[in-house]
C-alpha cells in the first residue's frame, strides 16, 4: 500500500530510486493562502492529471510532536470524481532544519514512480531566506499577500529571486495592486523576471490563469546554480542529522554543557 511505503521511506526503512517528473514547491509566509492555492490548483488540474500533494508542517522543537492541519483546506478531496486522482500526505519536518525535510525528495520520487504526473510540495510557512525547497522541486511558486511591508521588502534578496512564478494572493483585499507593482519594479531589473499572477480564493480571480501557467512553467537559467547549492547543503545536513550519536550529543550539550567545538569534533570523529 502506497501510504505504508511512504512511512517506511520516512522512517528510513526503504530506499528510493530517482524518478524524473514534475515537482512543484509552493512556498511563502504563514497564513498567506498556500493551502487554499493548492486546493484551487487541484480543482483545475484533476482528474486530467494525477496529482500528489506533500503538505509540510513544523515539528515541535520541544516535544518532537507535530500538528498537521493542511488537509483541512483541501475541499477538492470531498469531490468524489476528483479525489480518486489525488493523494495527500501530511509530513512533519522532524529533525530537518528549514521549511521542508530532506526526506521529501524520496517521497516525491516514489510518488512519481507510482503513476502520479505531478507532485506539489507545500512548504512550512517560510520567510525571506528559506530556500531549501530549491533543492528538491524543479519549479518554485512563491505566494505573497497584501500588507506585508513596503516596497523595500520586494527589493531584498532571497527567496523571491529563486521563484519561477510569483502569486499575489488575497487580491480582494486592499493593497494587493501595490504589492504587484513593487514586485514588478523590483524584478524588472533582472533579465528573466518570473511571471506575477494576482489571485483571490474568495472571488476566484486569477485561479484559471494560475493553473494554466503552472503546468507550463519554464526553469529560469539564473537559478540553476542556486539549486545545486541547496542540494549540496541539504545532503550535508543529512549526514549530520543521520549520525547515530546526534541526539546524545545534543543531550550532552543541553544538559552537561558540552561545548559546541567539542560536539563538532565528536561528530566528525564518530561518523555514522
Amino acid at each position: 500500500m502506497l501510504a505504508r511505503e511512504l512511512s517506511a521511506i520516512e522512517n528510513g526503512e526503504m530506499r528510493v530510486e530517482q524518478f524524473a517528473g514534475d515537482i512543484i514547491a509552493i512556498t511563502g509566509p504563514p497564513g498567506v493562502g498556500k493551502s487554499c492555492i493548492v486546493d484551487a490548483i487541484l480543482h483545475r488540474l484533476v482528474p486530467e492529471k494525477r496529482v500528489a500533494v506533500l503538505a509540510v508542517d513544523p515539528t515541535s522543537p520541544l516535544s518532537g510532536g507535530a500538528l498537521l492541519g493542511d488537509r483541512i483546506r483541501l475541499s477538492v478531496l470531498d469531490d468524489k470524481t476528483k479525489s480518486e486522482s489525488i493523494y495527500v500526505r501530511s509530513v512533519a519536518t522532524r529533525s530537518s532544519s528549514g521549511s521542508i525535510p530532506s526526506i521529501i525528495r524520496d517521497l516525491a520520487h516514489h510518488l512519481l514512480a507510482n503513476t502520479f504526473d505531478l507532485v506539489i510540495i507545500e512548504t512550512v510557512g517560510a520567510g525571506q531566506s528559506e530556500m531549501r525547497c530549491a533543492a528538491i522541486a524543479n519549479r518554485i511558486v512563491v505566494v505573497e499577500g497584501p500588507a506585508r511591508g513596503d516596497g523595500i521588502q520586494a527589493e531584498k534578496a532571497g527567496l523571491l529571486e529563486l521563484a519561477d512564478l510569483i502569486v499575489v494572493n488575497k487580491s480582494d483585499l486592499d493593497g494587493s495592486d501595490r504589492v504587484v507593482n513593487d514586485l514588478t519594479v523590483s524584478l524588472g531589473l533582472t533579465n528573466d523576471a518570473p511571471p506575477i499572477i494576482k489571485t483571490s480564493i474568495i472571488t476566484g480571480d486569477g485561479l484559471d490563469e494560475l493553473s494554466q501557467t503552472i503546468t507550463n512553467l519554464k526553469e529560469r537559467n539564473s537559478s540553476k546554480r542556486a539549486r545545486c547549492r541547496q542540494q549540496l547543503l541539504m545532503a550535508h545536513e543529512n549526514i549530520l542529522t543521520s549520525n547515530p550519536h546526534f541526539e546524545t550529543i545534543l543531550d550532552r550539550m543541553s544538559e552537561e554543557g558540552l561545548a559546541l567545538q567539542d560536539a563538532l569534533r565528536e561528530i566528525n570523529e564518530r561518523p555514522s
Binding site: A3, S63, G64, G65, L68, R71
Partner: protein, 166 residues
C-alpha cells in the same frame, strides 16, 4: 472530546518523548464525525498528543465516516481519535470501525471521547473502540493509553476484547 487538563509541554516532553521505551512517536488522526461543531475538546486532545511527541493530523469539523477512513489510510495513521458531542456516537463510531475493517486497516487503534453516556459504551467497545475519554480526563491518561496500545495487538480488527480501564 470532553474537557481535559493540560500539563505544560515541557513536562510532557520530559516524561514521554525523551524516554525511549514508551512506545515511540505515533501518527494519530483526530476526527470530528457528523454534524457537530464543538471542537474545543478535539483541539485540546490534538495539542496534548502533539506535546506528548506524536504527529497529529486534524481533520476539521463535520467529516463523514468515509472521509475519516480515507484520511487514516492516506496518512498511514496508527491511531484515530473520534470526538462527538452530538449524541450520534452510537451510529457513527461503529460505522467508522466497520469501514476501517472493510478497507483492510485492521491494525488501526480507535479511541473516542466527548459526551458518551456510560450505558452507550459497551456496544462501542464491542465494535472495536479501545478507549472512551469523557470530560475531566487528564491529558496524561490519553498519552498513557497511546503508549500502552502501541505495544498491544488491539487494532480495530483484532480479536481482543481489551479496552482501556476495563
Amino acid at each position: 472530546m470532553g474537557f481535559v487538563s493540560i500539563s505544560t509541554p515541557q513536562a510532557l516532553h520530559r516524561r514521554y518523548y525523551t524516554q525511549p521505551n514508551m512506545g515511540g512517536r505515533q501518527r494519530i488522526v483526530i476526527a470530528k464525525p457528523g454534524l457537530d461543531g464543538h471542537d474545543r475538546g478535539a483541539k485540546v486532545v490534538a495539542r496534548a498528543l502533539r506535546d506528548g511527541g506524536h504527529e497529529v493530523i486534524y481533520t476539521g469539523l463535520r467529516r463523514t465516516p468515509e472521509q475519516i477512513v480515507r484520511t487514516v489510510m492516506d496518512e498511514d495513521a496508527r491511531f484515530v481519535g473520534l470526538s462527538s458531542l452530538s449524541g450520534a456516537h452510537s451510529h457513527l463510531f461503529p460505522k467508522i470501525c466497520n469501514l476501517l475493517k472493510e478497507s483492510g486497516l485492521n491494525d488501526v487503534v480507535v479511541f473516542g471521547g466527548g459526551i458518551i453516556p456510560e450505558s452507550d459504551r459497551p456496544p462501542l467497545y464491542s465494535a472495536g473502540v479501545r478507549a472512551i475519554f469523557g470530560p475531566g480526563t487528564p491529558s496524561t491518561e490519553i498519552l498513557d493509553f497511546v503508549n500502552e496500545a502501541s505495544s498491544k495487538d488491539c487494532g480495530v480488527g483484532s480479536d481482543t476484547s481489551w479496552y482501556w480501564g476495563e
